[in-house]
């Protein structure tokens, strides 16, 4: 692939540009997550390790795995030079300019991991026809879609979290698997698993894939498993990698006998089925159906109003609540649904592995399945599915269409995170920027292969604009603002849930039909 000399500089230019843009928003609104991380800086810096998971002066207790705590500890060493005040545990909601500057810059710097991972992903992209124009090359489009991802930008740099850092490791492990460097991929994945345990959702994909393709070194000619080719050495080496990372992270706490406490902090099942703002997943639809049925039941006289549970599911508190008509959902039930949803994808990878790409597809399915059915899902978790899907999107037309659908809907569902008026132009502008770019770039990539979106899908996406105008412009000026203040959130959540569920089903259909066609091709 002969590249002209000047085009090699485009990646650093893109990365620098987006980093500079991130620096502009240092003074923008930040959510309570800012205080969360400040608190963790204080805890890890000022208290001995044995107190880290017991500390609860602040309501934002440490609920990420130990490796992230070590990361915060490292950051706190640098924080000392900015403002010692932020490292005092009692300084709740401390937000001096130096604190803000330090924390924002730490996110920007941590994103260096992400930038490196994106670079690695770009090298794995298959380019069938080498386009002369830089803007039409798949690796360029992928770089922009990942580096300038709208969701990551607003969640990390405005709302405040460290997702770029975490996704960097995840994408790096994906890239390594695509490059067939499996042990390294496993290493990066264990690291990210110990940084944020939400990645447990995609662990089954890793497990099954590595077992199938790494531990069993050969396939039969018809693609099925050759049981004899099991390599215990590989299994052991894999286990060693994972265990060593986990030991490094959890080790000290196991030694101090604090494991149950740590686990209880990591998995707080006391929180309700849905977050205060419902993530657009299956349970949102379930809740709405339940509410609708209960209202219908009351109207038709089938149900007694007094017998209905009073707690509002859409109130700001995250308590457990009961459903009125449909069966209530408990954590084990949600887990079961999630596992059932993941099973077909895992089965596909086991039965007909199609190399790294098949693994990636399975990963996306698992992430999306867990988003759809898990307990207490945050809407930010949709990024776990959107980012890996970008890699697939620049290579195949069908994936591109599904990516557009999922990404646009998922990104829109993040809008309620930034609810202040000053940030309104930012989120609209950034969203428009990303959406327009993704549509036009992907269309250019696959020009001549038909349109990417079904007309109904396009209509749905246009409907997002209407929902936005309704929720943020019309509704606040209407009389229902006071009586039914939760309606915009409800509408956004349900509308996006429809889109996400549709993408989920369609991705599955595409996965299964693809396997079937591949199987028939081989026969």
């Amino acid at each position: 692939m002969a590249a002209p000399v000047e085009s090699s500089g485009w990646f650093p230019a893109l990365a620098i540009a987006v980093s500079l843009l991130k620096c502009l928003f240092i003074n923008a609104y930040h959510s309570t997550d800012f205080e969360v991380h400040r608190n963790w800086l204080a805890i890890t810096h000022s208290l001995p390790v044995s107190r880290w998971y017991y500390e609860n002066t602040s309501e934002w207790t440490l609920d990420y795995p130990p490796l992230f705590a070590w990361f915060e500890y490292g950051l706190s060493q640098a924080a000392v030079h900015f403002d010692r005040g932020m490292l005092v545990v009692e300084n709740l909601n401390y937000a001096s300019p130096a604190t803000i500057l330090f924390q924002r810059l730490s996110v920007v710097f941590a994103d260096l991991v992400f930038i490196y991972a994106v670079k690695e992903c770009c090298t794995t992209v298959r380019e069938e026809k080498a386009a002369k124009d830089l803007l039409r090359r798949p690796c360029f489009v992928l770089a922009v879609l990942l580096l300038w991802n709208f969701g990551l930008f607003i969640v990390d740099h405005i709302h405040f979290q460290y997702n770029g850092f975490l996704f960097g490791f995840l994408l790096l492990s994906v890239a390594r698997h695509l490059q067939a460097r499996h042990l390294e991929g496993a290493l990066w994945f264990s690291i990210v698993l110990n940084l944020k345990h939400i990645n447990l959702y995609v662990a089954p994909a890793y497990g099954i894939y590595l077992l199938r393709c790494f531990c069993f070194t050969q396939d039969n000619t018809d693609g099925s498993l050759r049981w004899r080719s099991f390599s215990p050495v590989r299994l052991v080496s894999l286990g060693a990698v994972v265990l060593s990372v986990t030991a490094a992270s959890f080790g000290p706490f196991v030694a101090m006998g604090q494991l149950p406490q740590v686990l209880s902090r990591l998995f707080p099942f006391k929180r309700g089925l849905c977050h205060a703002y419902w993530a657009p997943n299956f349970w949102a639809l379930y809740n709405v159906l339940d509410k609708a049925l209960s209202m219908l039941g009351v109207r038709l006289g089938l149900l007694d109003v007094a017998g209905l549970p009073k707690a509002s599911m859409t109130g700001g508190l995250v308590q457990e609540f009961q459903h009125a008509v449909l069966p209530s959902v408990s954590p084990p039930a949600a887990l079961l649904c999630t596992l059932l949803a993941m099973l077909p994808a895992l089965w596909c990878v086991w039965r007909w592995p199609s190399g790294g790409r098949g693994f990636l597809r399975c990963l996306v399915q698992c992430a999306l399945a867990s988003f759809m059915f898990s307990w207490h899902v945050h809407e930010k978790a949709v990024l776990l599915a959107v980012l890996p899907l970008s890699i697939l999107a620049v290579e195949s037309r069908r994936d591109a269409g599904m990516f557009l659908m999922l990404a646009t809907t998922g990104h829109y569902s993040l809008f309620p995170l930034l609810f202040t008026p000053a940030e309104f132009p930012i989120k609209v502008l950034l969203m428009l920027l990303f959406t327009i770019y993704s549509f036009s770039a992907l269309r250019n990539l696959f020009s001549g292969e038909g349109s990417l979106l079904h007309p109904l899908e396009a209509l749905y996406l246009l409907g997002l604009v209407a929902v936005e105008v309704l929720c943020e412009v019309v509704f606040p000026l209407s009389p229902w603002q006071r009586t039914l203040p939760f309606v915009p959130l409800l509408v956004t959540s349900v509308y996006c849930a429809l889109g996400v569920s549709y993408s989920f089903v369609r991705l599955y259909v595409s996965l299964l039909t693809q396997e079937v066609t591949e199987k028939t091709k081989r026969l």
Partner: protein, 498 residues
């Protein structure tokens, strides 16, 4: 999409602090604009420019022409709808709140969206050469010019409106719609009197064009059409003030404050820099200062204007705009450092043709405003936008590659060099300019860091602002000479196509 990015960056900068934030009793330009809204809304037109009990001219009296006042009136009406507290007469002095800041920033954005940005887009689409990619690259670079963004959205002013109107004027002239162009420019003049810096090129270009078409017949007709347009525009803007000569005179007195001295603060022009060596302000009397600056300015703009009169092409016009505004900036009376924006706009228009020098100049112009930006607490946006502009500019416009002598339009030097005696060294100007660019960048970064990090020595409290302004002055002078050479050495018969 470039528009979206440009707007996004502007709004991002607007998060930061503004001029005079939290600094009673006088605050800053932000409070000035808010005060004008208050004055224009509550007082009758006759009192706007006069010193009355309700309108204390010492507290940010109106000192821009009438169109600014009308614009403030419009904003005030909107403000009244949202929150009357913002424009309550005498009661709203020093009013500061997040909602109000949002409102004021929004007014700047609205003005930009309506006037400046469309002008830039149209200019790049119609009046620049090159492929679509090149045009978009130029558009992005112009929209991301840090100086304008920082002053309008940070320090707080409405330069986008006046510069936008001027740009519409340039567009009009470029596309051959002379009357519309002059209409736009007259509006710009009525918005900010500093647009006079651009007035001479407009005048010479139009006069030259009409002369070309023959002073009798079509030429005269166009001339009359333009003159009538200008006069009518002025009349319309000044209508409320023409009823009483005293009104008009008072307005003139407010917008041309000849009593204020040769310069204020540290500004990167000739007089301030000269003052470092020879204390001009104390030597000469106020009147002779005025006459001196008048004479020197006139001298500086004469070559460029005459050349434009002789060969009224669009290329010459653009160069003349640069030369004229730079001449006024360097040598005129009572110049503010923000006036460098008036020179920056024409240089932006030349980004496509002379990328290296344009980017160089634009970087230095932003740098020259550093002391002002530091006072407003705009260090981070300054650093970010300057870096972004530098990276994008050199990347998108391949500035560093396009700097052979021919491309720098220095054929004139070549011809001059042929006359010089053989023993004088032949300088490779292209390499010199490139080296100077790099070294200047290093110096600028160094000075910026030093201004922030190091406290000035005890005996020289103004050391850093003075260093910044002298550095900038030398660069501006160099740029002035360069552009003059380029303009004057363009061969007579060469008609640069649009």
């Amino acid at each position: 999409m470039s528009i979206l990015l440009g707007v996004l960056v502007r709004w991002g900068v607007s998060f930061n602090s503004y001029s005079g934030a939290g600094k009673p009793p006088m605050f800053g330009d932000y409070e000035a604009q808010r005060h004008w809204q208050e004055v224009t809304y509550n007082l009758p037109i006759q009192e706007w420019y006069f010193n009355t009990t309700d309108n204390d001219l010492n507290y940010w009296g109106l000192d821009y022409p009438p169109l600014t006042a009308f614009h403030s009136l419009l904003c005030a009406h909107v403000a009244k709808l949202i929150n009357p507290e913002w424009v309550k007469l005498l009661g709203s002095r020093g009013y500061e709140s997040p909602a109000h800041k949002l409102f004021m920033r929004a007014t700047v954005l609205a003005a930009d969206l309506l006037v400046y940005i469309p002008a830039v887009v149209l200019y790049c689409c119609n009046l620049t050469n090159g492929s679509t990619n090149k045009k978009v690259g130029t558009l992005l670079c112009i929209l991301l010019y840090p100086g304008l963004i920082l002053i309008d959205y940070g320090h707080f002013q409405y330069n986008g409106l006046s510069l936008g109107l001027t740009l519409w004027g340039v567009l009009g002239l470029g596309l051959g719609w002379d009357a519309l162009g002059s209409l736009a420019f007259s509006l710009a003049l009525n918005y900010k009197q500093m647009e006079l810096y651009h007035a001479l090129p407009f005048f010479c270009y139009l006069l030259g064009k009409c002369a070309r078409q023959g002073l009798t017949g079509r030429g005269l007709f166009s001339l009359v059409k333009i003159a009538v347009t200008v006069l009518v525009t002025f009349a319309l803007c000044w209508l409320p003030f023409l009823s009483d000569p005293e009104q008009a005179l008072q307005v003139l007195r407010r917008i041309f404050p000849v009593a204020r001295g040769l310069f204020e603060d540290k500004v990167a022009n000739a007089w301030c820099s000269l003052n470092v060596l020879i204390k001009i302000r104390s030597i000469l009397s106020s009147d002779s200062q005025f006459y001196l600056s008048f004479a020197v300015t006139l001298l500086a703009i004469t070559p460029s204007s005459l050349k434009l009169l002789k060969t009224p092409t669009f290329w010459q016009f653009k160069l003349a705009l640069v030369n004229s505004s730079l001449a006024f900036f360097l040598f005129s009376y009572q110049v503010h450092e923000k006036s460098i924006l008036l020179a920056a706009l024409p240089v932006c228009l030349l980004l496509n043709d002379l990328p290296l020098v344009a980017i160089y100049f634009l970087q230095v112009s932003t740098f020259s405003m550093l002391p002002l930006l530091l006072k407003d607490g705009l260090l981070m946006p300054y650093a970010v936008t300057s870096l972004a502009f530098l990276v994008l500019g050199t990347h998108l416009l391949s500035a560093l590659e396009r700097c052979t002598e021919a491309q720098l339009r220095l054929e004139g030097y070549r011809r001059l060099a042929a006359w010089l005696p053989a023993w004088l060294p032949r300088l490779d100007l292209a390499r010199i300019i490139r080296r100077k660019f790099y070294s200047s960048l290093v110096l600028m970064v160094g000075l910026s860091v030093a201004s922030v990090a190091l406290p000035p020595p005890a005996g020289l409290p103004d050391l850093f602002p003075v260093l910044v302004s002298t550095f900038s002055f030398l660069h501006f002078l160099g740029t002035f000479i360069y552009f003059n050479i380029v303009q004057l050495s363009t061969p007579q018969g060469k008609q640069k196509t649009l």
